[in-house]
Amino acid sequence: MSKPNYTRQLDFKNGRVEMSYGSGGRAMAQLIDELFARAFDNPYLAQGNDGALLPSATGRLVISTDSHVVSPLFFAGGDIGCLSVHGTINDVAMMGAMPLYLSAAFILEEGFPLADLKRIVISMAQAAREAGVPIVTGDTKVVEQGKGDGVFITTTGVGVVRDGITLSGDLAQAGDKILLSGAIGDHGMAVLSQREGLSFDAPIVSDTAALHGLVAAMLDSGACLRVLRDPTRGGLATTLNEIVRQSGVGMLLHEAAIPVHQPVEAACEFLGLDPLYVANEGKLVAICAAEDAARLLEVMRAHPQAVDAAIIGEVLEDAHGFVQMTTKLGGRRIVDWLAGEQLPRIC
């Protein structure tokens, strides 16, 4: 590709997104060239076509897509950019697949600072590079001021599952063990405390991370895995209720076994929230046959992303489909679906 003859370079210091950046004209080509292509830099994207031509792969294909809207766009531990890469990689990985490629579509709001956009794109590029999953194709649209929230990013991921692996939310069986890869609530509370301008003694940092390496280690352990899920929006409680509904079982959790970092617990307390319902972006739940649980736990704890992994409960027969929990105090409660949005209590 010969270097196009632009009159002036984009102003990544003080410039702002203009309507023309999404119009398909020269301005758009310039944005793609000076920002996206440079940051994402890989041979598939460099083909410069409307789509990416990819080499053939062996195994069953998995595809997953996710739109990311987060406010604030930048938070402790990450930003919408790396989040959009990690989120989709994780969705592919939870199918037991090795993620291979990503696509990214941006909806930008007119007037959005180019400096912020650059920061987000570089963060995405870095996350993709660290994960070893290139962003091979993309799209950009611009909406008028007031019709977007700065930037929305939709990413799609493709991966392959090797033979002999089948993970699905409807495979949980009575007797299985439930494992969690680490402390819950970090991402949601990092975003919320930033949004509400709350500060706590110890900073709360999002756990956003790509988990396919951890998943690969877990699959390699040979443990009989039945379900993998990342408890994102709606938190651990929502994820477990989804599995219970899909599998037609019940669950009994043990609150004392569920790790929660103290600052997260304190922040939840302050806002009247329950960490079980707070989003995570770098944790996974695994359901496996009881006899393999100890071995799986060992493999997880040996991986840097799951040193705090724990067995948090069991799958049970239950026609009512309740997720129950023995509380720290020794009583029992239901861990229900969330009703509406989780809203802070009044007094």
């Binding site: 007797g175 509400e196 706590f200 003694d201 019940g250 009994l252 004392a256 103290q262 617990e265 304190a266 922040a267 307390e269 302050f270 009247g272 329950d274 069991e314 049970l316 027969e317 239950d318 009512h320 309740f322 129950q324 023995t326 509380t327 720290k328 105090l329 020794g330 009583g331 029992r332 409660r333 239901i334 229900d336 009703a339 509406g340 809203l343 802070p344 209590r345 009044i346 007094c347």
Partner: protein, 424 residues
């Protein structure tokens, strides 16, 4: 910020629970957590032999259809004495449900949920008033989150009114409402002020600030209510619920102190133990109440000494007294019209009273026919006794106010405790 784990120690809870069992149930009829089939299933799987011996004979098993009441009375009849304790506050209701405290108590101790949930006691007509202000008067209506989903007339809620175009904003503190008023000087901003004595001082502060800043576009729809008046009303209900003692409010008492409850101990001979909102606080308060009852005493005791004094926060009280005065009467959901049970702005602050500014009067509206909130708030019925509990009325689609806030008796029971009926 202080960490809370020390008030949630499972081992300590077991010790207190053991004391409660020993003192409230000397003959040892206590329910064990193992009466739950799910737990039994698990116990059997872990250790099939031990599981067998864990099966506990259950009174009233054959009457499964007749359900909880029959079972309850059979169970209770095994005991010399029943302890009916009302936890006044929604915060306690929430802690009890969230931590499954009922499982730690012997069946002779029965907890009755009280009316101390700010949105639960708000009658439909009050929410209607707020909606009318937002839709007919075009004000920016600022409100705390829980209030958004309280059912009003015509199948509306503030949330639905917002979806229909009304300018309703969720805020976290009164300061947010003031900021909005400053940001939109050409709009009228009304703060939907609800809550017990805990939330009143911040409202008073906001009024003083509005006055100092000369804000002409800020006013409040005042629904602040008073705890002791509601306790009087509960004890005065004719043929009302038999109560043996109160678990007294936590946060409310930090403001008003413990002194206002003395009348309940002296005149009504009901023990009151003020308790914090942590589960261990509640357990300890239950034990203290049982001791008083066993000793035939009725006094105001304070479990929550780390925050509550006899006098309370006199500064906050003075501020509230400066800005507010008693209403002649106020209609509560469940308790009806209760004299001197709520506050309104004093004449000197009347210009901040939205009811006066917009001439929007309170119009009483009856509750949904099937809804038992009234009886539940008086402690006469339990959520599961409402015919539409868990079917028509759920947290997703609340019919009554008790299903809205997580502090409401119906929502707490639905979200945390409803396995008890189906697995009994």
């Amino acid at each position: 910020m202080k960490y809370v784990d020390e008030f949630r120690d499972g081992e300590l809870a077991k010790i207190i629970a053991a004391n409660i069992v020993r003192e409230a149930d000397p003959n040892g009829h206590a329910r064990s957590p193992l009466h739950n089939p799910l737990v039994k299933q698990l116990a059997n799987r872990l250790s099939p032999r031990a599981g067998k011996s864990l099966v506990i004979p259950q009174a009233g098993r054959a009457q499964r259809g007749g359900r909880s009441q029959a079972i309850e009375s059979l169970r209770e009849s095994q005991f010399n004495r029943i302890y009916r304790l009302m936890e006044f506050c929604g915060g306690h209701t929430h802690a009890i449900s969230r931590y499954g405290l009922a499982d730690l108590l012997p069946a002779s101790v029965r907890l009755i949920h009280g009316p101390g949930c700010p949105v639960c006691v708000l009658p439909i007509g009050r929410v209607d008033q707020a909606i009318r202000l937002a839709t007919d008067q075009g004000v920016i209506l600022c409100t705390y989150a829980d209030t958004l989903r309280v059912p009003a007339s015509d199948n509306l809620t503030l949330m639905r009114a917002k979806a229909g175009g009304a300018d309703v904003r969720m805020i976290y503190s009164t300061q947010d409402a003031l900021k909005i008023a400053q940001a939109y000087p050409q709009r009228q901003v009304v703060f939907f002020a609800i809550g017990f004595e805990t939330t009143t001082p911040p409202t008073a502060v906001a009024i003083k600030q509005a006055q100092a800043a000369g804000l002409k576009n800020f006013s409040i729809l005042c629904n602040h209510v008073l705890t002791p008046a509601a306790m009087h009303a509960i004890l005065a209900v004719e043929g009302g619920v038999a109560l043996d003692g109160f678990i007294g409010p936590a946060h409310v008492s930090t403001v008003i102190g413990s002194q206002p409850y003395e009348v309940f101990a002296h005149d009504y001979a009901k023990p009151v133990v003020i308790a914090g909102f942590e589960p261990l606080d509640v357990m300890q308060a239950i034990l203290m109440l049982i001791r008083q009852i066993n000793e035939g005493r009725a006094a105001v005791e304070n479990e929550f000494t780390r925050a509550v004094t006899r006098e309370g926060n006199t500064k906050a009280q003075a501020l509230v007294a400066e800005v507010f005065e008693l209403r002649e009467a106020f209609e509560w959901r469940g308790l009806g019209s209760v004299p001197h049970s709520a506050l309104k702005l004093r004449a000197g602050y009347a210009e901040y009273d939205a009811e006066l500014r917009f001439g929007c009067e309170y119009v009483a509206v009856p509750d949904h026919k099937a809804c038992e909130c009234a009886a539940i708030l008086r402690g006469q019925k339990r959520p599961q006794e409402c015919k539409i509990f868990g079917t028509v009325c759920t947290p997703e689609n609340p019919v009554g106010s008790c299903m809205v806030s997580s502090e409401g008796a119906c929502a707490a029971h639905y979200s945390y405790g409803r396995f008890r009926e189906v697995t009994q």
